[in-house]
Symmetry: D2
Subunit: 165 residues, 4 copies
Amino acid sequence: MAAIRIFVTGGTFDKEYNELTGTLAFKDTHVPEMLHRGRCRLDVAVTTLMMLDSLEMTAGQRAAIVEACRRAHESRILISHGTDTMVETAHALAAALLAAKTIVLTGAMVPYAFGSSDGLFNLGSALSFVQVLPPGVYVAMNGRYFQWDRVRKNRESGIFEEING
Amino acid sequence: MAAIRIFVTGGTFDKEYNELTGTLAFKDTHVPEMLHRGRCRLDVAVTTLMMLDSLEMTAGQRAAIVEACRRAHESRILISHGTDTMVETAHALAAALLAAKTIVLTGAMVPYAFGSSDGLFNLGSALSFVQVLPPGVYVAMNGRYFQWDRVRKNRESGIFEEING
Amino acid sequence: MAAIRIFVTGGTFDKEYNELTGTLAFKDTHVPEMLHRGRCRLDVAVTTLMMLDSLEMTAGQRAAIVEACRRAHESRILISHGTDTMVETAHALAAALLAAKTIVLTGAMVPYAFGSSDGLFNLGSALSFVQVLPPGVYVAMNGRYFQWDRVRKNRESGIFEEING
Amino acid sequence: MAAIRIFVTGGTFDKEYNELTGTLAFKDTHVPEMLHRGRCRLDVAVTTLMMLDSLEMTAGQRAAIVEACRRAHESRILISHGTDTMVETAHALAAALLAAKTIVLTGAMVPYAFGSSDGLFNLGSALSFVQVLPPGVYVAMNGRYFQWDRVRKNRESGIFEEING
């Protein structure tokens, strides 16, 4: 069973409610807790690269994600990411031509810390895709996977859709 | 995008707490609600075949599941099932030689109705596997998939493990 | 058993996560759902006066709350309110000299829509106090009640404390 | 602010799902976690006397609860208890003539460990009643309080009702 690396970059997936300021903010990632809840028995290592809203991700930070994927020993990588610029990061990863690596990006529309989150569903979904898809860069949202150049986020509906490459 | 059929058979996945009797029982399946929570946009149809604890599943009921899979128009089928005899049903399905169908069984160790359930994670996981695995019969639990003849449930730990076929 | 009126004014208590904008906003109040969850069998009527963050409450809106309490037939009134200016509204109510009415204000530090909310606990707590306290204006938070002129919100800790009148 | 003692005796309030056996069972009480979630700042001490379904409570165990209340230094005592024989325990406490103590019994129809529990609401409610009611023995359920000899559990509806003493 291949080892999987999960790179955490933040996004709505990991936001929490700060009760003193009344705003949404990041603390520690919930991914380990979610893997525990799913009783996940895969060989998984979790690394937090950054914790930010993807609308605020700079080109430098996006490059850092690509570099982390390049250096990773694992050939199967899952990236938790804000949904707003997830596709941009997918494009950056594809451009890096990281041979023989299966990279799947996922996120959530509602923070895992809330009761009605899609986070746990998306994590299970993306972890399955990363185990079986051939090398390439993919986005996994709404129960399905998309090729990096065949997807966009529909900002009106909040749903990810397939587009022609 | 291929259509997927979900056959619901019950199991811990769908148990609920009956407050008048103080026991666990079945009402309606939570699968549609879980697909909604996951913001699933797959072409999925949900059919409840039965709602029972798999320890109480008779040979006749197991045969009914096999027959439902045979008759289904879809070539990709997910079955929610109690974990205790999930492997038995997988064996019955494999014996039926349902050509060109990808069938994935999943369940949960804790009812979805509880706060700490693995149900949503498993559903996302199994739905992904059923979309990409080649025809055959599989069990999806603990974040991974198993061939029908390479898996058993470890009753001491509650974890599904790979065994030699 | 005396009838109780619940006036909803918003606050963190009722905030929800808007997944398209990524912000916290108000939709319908959760109070009826919370009363249902608590299996509350009191004679309670719920009226939404407004839905706003109490930091944005104007003097006119505060006066509207006072007027609603004055007009209410019930002699026992619970008000759900943002915690930031809950004490100010308590002062305005006390100044209105609403004879023979027991008025209790409560709120939450974390939205009920989140998993770790104090909302349900505070609602149960405040409903009990409003049934047994003598006429007057009170704040119910952190499990206890305070006289309207003996309380302040400690903004560093987010906790309500007793002060000398 | 008077000190409050919470005696935990189990009941549906504290039941959990045992995933290996598929049954409901007791582990540690959730009361401290619930007080934390409610951001309760009362002077409260929690003691677990026993953890059982109240249908299985023996006369000896009921007597132990009475004795614990007699010995407690606190004059305000809350008891978490199974709803099925909560009224019986209330009668036993009243018979013990524990002068100058306010004792409130509460429980839940759905385990706190489940998502739709009345537990947190009932705890907040009972804690408020125990602070303000005069010495005596009471049951707090469904948002209200009852005198020990004026209440019964309606087993068809699961609701507590007032009866003539």
